[in-house]
């Protein structure tokens, strides 16, 4: 449904996209995961015909977005990250304006607006001026605007950033319903949990290109191994942890043992399956070490990200925080 083919885009010396390719199957809920500055917004802006790529091809719903942008716009709903709303108008007036820009006929439009107001739980405030809305209300209104013309592709740029739980819940539910009804939904996020909970498939972006792609379970399975957190005492000291590490390091089926200083020198292990854990317990009792606690988990998307980039998503976020230039970013978004 959506094909980005070898897209490159630079803002002056800053390379935002570096040969990005993405294929979103029809009817899927697809997640675009990556830290701030990975190129998510640029990719979505190109997809939505707001921005022309320096190189590469864009196809949406079988149409060449670079050749037939207007036809693509008719089939595409876009919920942007920067919530552009006219504070003086009421939500309903905004929707009527939006409907006219998509050339919807008046009776149909009125009905459609009523349906969406109900669907997104906006009855209580839709006739108030947008200037009085909370972030969650604005986002819901934005989602309604994006859905007015019944697009076959819905694109959302970080739709739940900074939202209250209720609004987030409403948006998640609507996105799932849309996918179930056949709409192709593409959303970007830098929340791992969001993508894990929502997406059928995802692509992880870093440095303007896709570094991993698949369904969440595929990606995690490909990574393999269970995660084990082990404590021999509630708070071990460094030497004890080092000793435990030494004991476990050589065990068959143990891939990796790391001492987590931040959490009372607990040990983080990557192991191959259940059987290894019994082996671990035996090994520990032979070495006369007790087990205070042992917990097991499957790899998370964060582990997937870590594996692909060598850093956690959190670290990547922190890295770019200081480097962002809001003024330059605003200029990029301005026409």
């Amino acid at each position: 449904m959506i094909h980005l083919d070898q897209i490159s885009k630079a803002y002056g010396p800053v390379v935002a996209l570096d040969g990005l390719s993405l294929h979103v199957p029809a009817g899927s809920l697809y997640g675009l995961l990556g830290p701030n500055g990975a190129g998510k917004t640029t990719a979505l802006r190109i997809l939505c015909t707001l921005l022309a790529p320096d190189a590469g091809g864009v196809r949406v719903a079988g149409l060449d977005a670079l050749q037939q942008p207007r036809q693509v716009r008719e089939r595409l709903g876009y919920v942007a990250q920067e919530v552009a709303i006219d504070k003086i108008l009421t939500g309903r007036e905004m929707l009527h304006l939006q409907g006219a820009l998509y050339h919807l006929a008046a009776p149909h439009l009125r009905q459609r607006i009523d349906d969406l107001i109900q669907l997104l739980g906006m009855e209580g405030w839709i006739d108030r001026r947008c200037g009085t809305y909370s972030g969650g209300m604005r986002r819901r209104l934005d989602l309604a605007s994006g859905l007015l013309h019944q697009p076959s592709v819905l694109v959302l740029d970080e739709p739940t950033v900074g939202l209250d739980i209720e609004s987030r819940g409403v948006i998640w539910q609507v996105l799932r319903q849309l996918r179930d009804a056949g709409t192709t939904v593409l959303l970007s996020s830098h929340y791992l949990e969001e993508i894990d909970a929502l997406a059928d498939r995802l692509a992880i972006l870093d440095g303007g290109r896709v570094i991993a792609e698949g369904s969440p379970s595929e990606l995690k399975r490909a990574l393999g191994g269970d995660r084990v957190t082990l404590r021999v005492r509630e708070f071990s000291d460094e030497s004890e942890s080092a000793r435990v590490q030494q004991v476990l390091q050589g065990c068959p089926g143990v891939r990796q043992v790391v001492v987590n200083r931040a959490q009372g020198h607990s040990l983080n292990l990557v192991v191959d399956g259940e059987a290894v854990i019994e082996q671990l317990r035996r090994q520990l009792s032979e070495a006369e070490l007790s087990v205070f606690s042992l917990s097991q988990s499957r790899p998370s998307l964060d582990d997937v990200y870590l594996q692909a980039t060598g850093r956690t998503l959190m670290d990547a976020e922190l890295e770019v925080v200081g480097n962002r230039d809001p003024k330059a970013e605003r200029k990029q978004a301005m026409r």
């Binding site: 036809q71 304006l97 349906d115 978004a333």
Partner: protein
């Protein structure tokens, strides 16, 4: 929360056939919706309208009073200063309003509202510009009419019949030209601070260097030249003539240092200016809106 079934919200739906509707129907629908938005804003924040009427009104009353005892012979045909000033203030009103045409567009650019318009399948993006022109034209005409009514209540006269038509045509041409300029600036300047600075700097000097407040014969030569080249003058003089009554387009309305100009010539210059400015800003609009 939701009782609507997924089917009512969904999308895998019949593509609205774009071909079934005429381009004109689409264009007028989007243009009217955008114009309506601007008027809703105005209705809920009428300060622009109020200030736009108040400011020239103050000019009219204060300046009229200030020069009420202007020496005989300063003005042609023993015209009273109030009557002389009327035409100038009417034109200045329309001019100021049109000069602000770019501000809403600039704010839309800055707040990203323009992007919302640009992802919509507009039939033609000129509807964005068209809506601004429609809005600012009606706004400035309403303000000018308010000033004209006030001026007539102050006893400064009223152009009858054909004269009124001439006033409207003249104002329209000026408003088109200045709106084009302002929209061009709104798409080229980096932000509203810069745009407001340009408006601020352009406004008063253009008023003083025109024949709004005094005739050319009263000015030093250099200022006379400036006034005779100022577009405001080409709008003021035909309107002043219309106010004087018994108006003919062939009659000389402006005795400029470089020669006499008839009303028709003035209108021609304004029309050429409006056309020229629209042609000038077209590449800018094409680039920004494509």
């Amino acid at each position: 929360m939701t009782s609507a079934s997924p089917l009512t919200l969904n999308a895998a739906l019949p593509d609205q056939g774009p071909a079934q509707r005429s381009a004109f129907a689409d264009l007028s629908q989007e243009t009217l919706a955008l114009t309506r938005r601007l008027f809703l804003q105005l209705a809920r924040r009428p300060s622009t309208l109020v200030a736009g009427v108040l400011q020239p009104l103050i000019w009219l009353v204060l300046f009229g009073a200030l020069f009420a005892k202007a020496p005989e012979g300063l003005l042609p045909d023993g015209m009273s200063y109030g009557r002389f000033l009327g035409a100038g203030v009417i034109v200045f009103t329309a001019f100021s309003a049109a000069l602000n045409a770019g501000l809403p567009v600039m704010f839309d650019r800055e707040f990203g509202f323009l992007n919302r318009l640009l992802v919509a399948p507009l039939r033609s993006r000129s509807s964005i510009v068209l809506a601004s022109v429609l809005y600012i034209t009606s706004l400035s005409l309403v303000q000018s009419l308010a000033i004209m009514v006030t001026a007539s209540l102050l006893g400064y006269g009223w152009p009858g019949g054909a004269g009124l038509l001439l006033v409207l045509v003249t104002l329209l041409l000026l408003v088109f030209a200045v709106t084009a300029l302002s929209l061009g600036l709104a798409f080229t300047l980096p932000g509203h601070i810069e745009l407001i600075a340009v408006i601020f700097v352009a406004n008063l000097p253009l008023l003083f260097a025109s024949t709004a407040l005094a005739p050319i014969s009263f000015m030093p030569t250099w200022l006379g030249w400036l006034a005779a080249l100022n577009p405001l003058t080409f709008a003021i003089e035909p309107i002043r003539a219309a106010y004087a009554g018994s108006f003919s387009l062939q009659a000389v309305v402006l005795e400029a240092p470089y020669g006499d100009l008839t009303g028709l010539t003035c209108l021609g210059i304004l029309a050429a200016l409006a056309l020229g400015l629209f042609l000038l800003i077209r590449p800018v609009l094409d680039r920004k809106l494509s």
